[in-house]
């Protein structure tokens, strides 16, 4: 099967093109000898199957990071039968630099000028025919978002793969790097000048006299005063929509689970199943999985797409721009704001995202502090505790308190980063370039489909794979009583002393420990401990509040639990990812110890203050 590689700068719509070509037939996989996982998929065109690999987005093939090495190796090895060099029509000059480097390494190249529609709106005309004459390889104009031009692209790719197209790439033959730094610089400059020349010949700009939309928006979004205000308002808005919106599916899901639970119970009774088995399956497995889905899933399913929309819009690099000076003072990289934002979705994804930071020292700081921001799995629990003790059902107030929590998280991230760059990871902040992409209309449909498909199914999968077995284990712990006391109660009693120092109790601490595989488990596990696994309670937030209030829960415990939710050891998935990224047990251990230490100190301090000033 012919293998096609996609190469291009970040943000040129390479992934969109990949999705347009492969549809739903894609997955990520390792390649032999390559260190990084690559997205790959299949495409059928004129009866033939093509395998398509999405190379990591890079500004240059002269590699520095493992991700960029993959792209270079792929092209030098001749692994690919054809390489599509994806260019951005709105800044053709810049993206041609990489395309020229690609042509230097392989002659089987098709240049795809993407984002033609966006360029047209900006008054930019690209003469594809002229570019094709100048480059000596096929050039196809496309607009991957509307799937315009993908057939024309595949036609040229097919011709290249079949070998019938005479390819005479106009290249300098100098390779992409020289014997020493000066020679490499000279080669780099040759590509830049060539790209400039090509753009001058093939690109026409019609000046509309109007300031581009991106610059007009930046005037407000990056303004001295309104910039930070808008940032906070956007955050508040996202939280408000999450809290307000999650109510309705939550109620619906709860109703469904109640009915299903009743059915299962009567089914079990009529089948005459033994009581311990019914208990283990219904009160253990079913109840835990149902709580994860009914209470935890709705906020996650709303927060994630909302956040992805902001990302798609191009706002996140602006956050990094506005926040950079804080990170510089903490001795960290400004791009850490981006990995921090990714951590809001999922800390494991945030840790992987730290690859965008070039300096090893600053990358480690970002990896070690990523769990300081609450992930999607922790938001529902935070929202629940806030509405239980502080906001009393007002979604707006709840969103406000949640925003304060996030500000505390960011503050602690900065404090921890500063601590690290003064101690274990000493050093000066290094250089970096941050590209500000133009604002783009978010692809709402695509974002929704992807969030539902990737996130919701992922959480549902975890509910079955992690929550269900955890439910069984906890039910067993709650019902096995070797010395008269159930194991769960003895463990909770054992943890009561450290728990009360931290302003919580043994049951909460035990829930955090048992919830280590996934943060969305902590609250359902706590319910199980408090009800001793015997009560088949309804899965709603109202029922959960009742359980907590019956157990004598106060706002002080809520406060300390919220703080501990923000700062404790990351889930096992995140820790495994941290190990994969750092390849070091020492740093992985520190990634767990650092947030835990912060959480313990903060909780103990809050508890002490609450005791001194009752």
């Amino acid at each position: 099967m012919p293998l096609i590689a996609l190469a291009g700068n970040p943000n040129v719509g390479k992934s969109t093109l990949f999705n347009a070509l492969t549809g739903m037939n894609q997955h990520t996989g390792n390649w032999p000898g390559k260190t990084v996982e690559l997205a790959q998929g299949h495409c059928r065109y004129k009866g033939a199957e093509y395998q398509i690999v999405d190379l990591p987005g890079a500004y240059s093939l002269v590699s520095r990071s493992p991700e960029e090495t993959v792209a270079e190796e792929f092209l030098i090895d001749g692994t690919a039968d054809c390489t599509i060099a994806v260019c951005d029509a709105t800044c053709l000059e810049r993206s041609l630099i990489l395309a020229l480097q690609v042509m230097e390494l392989t002659e089987r190249v098709v240049v795809c000028v993407n984002l033609m529609d966006e360029a047209e709106r900006a008054g930019i005309r690209v003469d594809g025919a002229a570019l094709e004459r100048q480059l000596g390889v096929p050039v196809v104009a496309a607009c991957a978002l509307q799937e315009n031009g993908t057939d024309a692209l595949m036609e040229r790719v097919r011709e290249v793969c079949d070998g019938f197209l005479p390819l005479q790439p106009h290249r300098c033959g100098c390779g992409i790097r020289g014997k020493n730094d000066e020679a490499s610089d000279a080669i780099a400059a040759r590509f830049v000048l060539r790209a400039q020349e090509l753009a001058a010949q093939c690109v026409r700009r019609e000046e509309s006299g109007q300031t581009p939309l991106t610059e007009r928006l930046d005037r407000v979004l990056l303004h001295r005063f309104s910039g930070y205000g808008v940032m906070l308002l956007l955050l508040l808005g996202v939280f408000w929509l999450t809290i307000e919106g999650a109510n309705y599916p939550s109620i619906g899901l709860q109703w469904c689970f109640d009915r299903l639970g009743d059915l299962l119970r009567s089914g079990a009774v009529s089948l005459g199943l033994p009581v311990p088995l019914t208990g283990a399956l219904l009160d253990g497995v079913y109840a835990t999985a149902a709580r994860v889905v009914a209470v935890m899933l709705p906020p996650m399913a709303i927060f994630f797409p909302l956040f992805t929309l902001l990302e798609d819009f191009g706002y996140l690099p602006r956050v990094a721009f506005l926040m950079d000076h804080r990170f510089r003072r903490a001795g960290a990289c400004g791009k850490q704001s981006l990995t921090l934002c990714m951590g809001l979705g999922c800390n494991a994804a945030g840790v992987t995202g730290c690859r965008i930071i070039d300096s090893r020292r600053e990358r480690l700081i970002a990896v070690l502090t990523n769990a300081f921001v609450p992930c999607n799995g922790r938001f529902p629990a935070l929202i629940f505790l806030i509405s239980l003790s502080f906001s009393h059902g007002s979604a707006l107030l709840g969103a406000g308190v949640l925003t304060l929590c996030l500000l505390l998280s960011v503050g602690m991230t900065l404090a921890a980063s500063k601590l690290l760059s003064r101690t274990a990871l000493r050093g000066e902040p290094s250089s970096f370039v941050l590209e500000m992409p133009p604002y783009r209309r978010p692809r709402i449909g695509q974002v929704l489909v992807r969030s539902v498909r990737d996130r919701t199914l992922f959480v549902l999968g975890r509910a079955v794979a992690v929550a269900a077995p955890a439910g069984l284990v906890i039910w067993l712990l709650a019902n096995l009583a070797p010395r008269g006391t159930p194991l769960l109660q003895s463990a909770a009693a054992f943890l009561d002393a450290p728990g009360s120092v931290l302003g919580m109790n043994g049951a909460i601490l035990l829930a955090f420990i048992l919830g280590s595989p996934a943060n969305e488990l902590v609250l359902p596990v706590l319910m199980m401990i408090l009800t001793s696994g015997s009560l088949f309670a309804a899965e709603s937030t109202a029922a959960m509040s009742r359980i907590l209030l019956t157990a004598g829960w106060t706002w002080r415990e809520s406060l300390c639990t919220i703080v501990f939710f923000l700062f404790h050891w990351p889930c096992t998935t995140t820790l495994l990812t941290a190990y994969r990224e750092t390849k070091s047990k020492k740093w992985t251990l520190l990634a767990a110890v650092l947030p835990t230490a912060f959480g313990c100190v903060l909780c103990a301090a809050v508890n002490l203050i609450l005791h001194l000033f009752p």
């Binding site: 500004y59 240059s60 002269v62 520095r64 709105t90 800044c91 053709l92 000059e93 810049r94 630099i97 490499s184 610089d185 780099a188 400059a189 830049v192 000048l193 790209a195 400039q196 991106t214 610059e215 930046d218 990056l222 303004h223 001295r224 005063f225 910039g227 930070y228 690099p317 990094a320 721009f321 506005l322 950079d324 000076h325 510089r328 400004g334 070039d358 902040p429 290094s430 250089s431 970096f432 370039v433 941050l434 590209e435 500000m436 992409p437 133009p438």
Partner: protein, 79 residues
Amino acid sequence: METTMDLLREGDCARILSLRLRGAMRRRLLDFGMIEGTCVRCLRISPSGDPVIYRVRGTMLALRRQDSSRIAVEVEPCR
């Protein structure tokens, strides 16, 4: 007028004279097409004064002052 890139004001245009940077950062800037003779425009200074967004070859790049202060430029009227 010869100066360094960090001293440009919002709206100023300039041409790069030389990069007084070494190693990875020099390479990074070359990847973005910032070579001698490249025209840049200072678009927006961050509320805290650092970093600053420049328009370079049709894209917008944010640089910290510690780096842009090592790029010598000649101020030019904008085209």
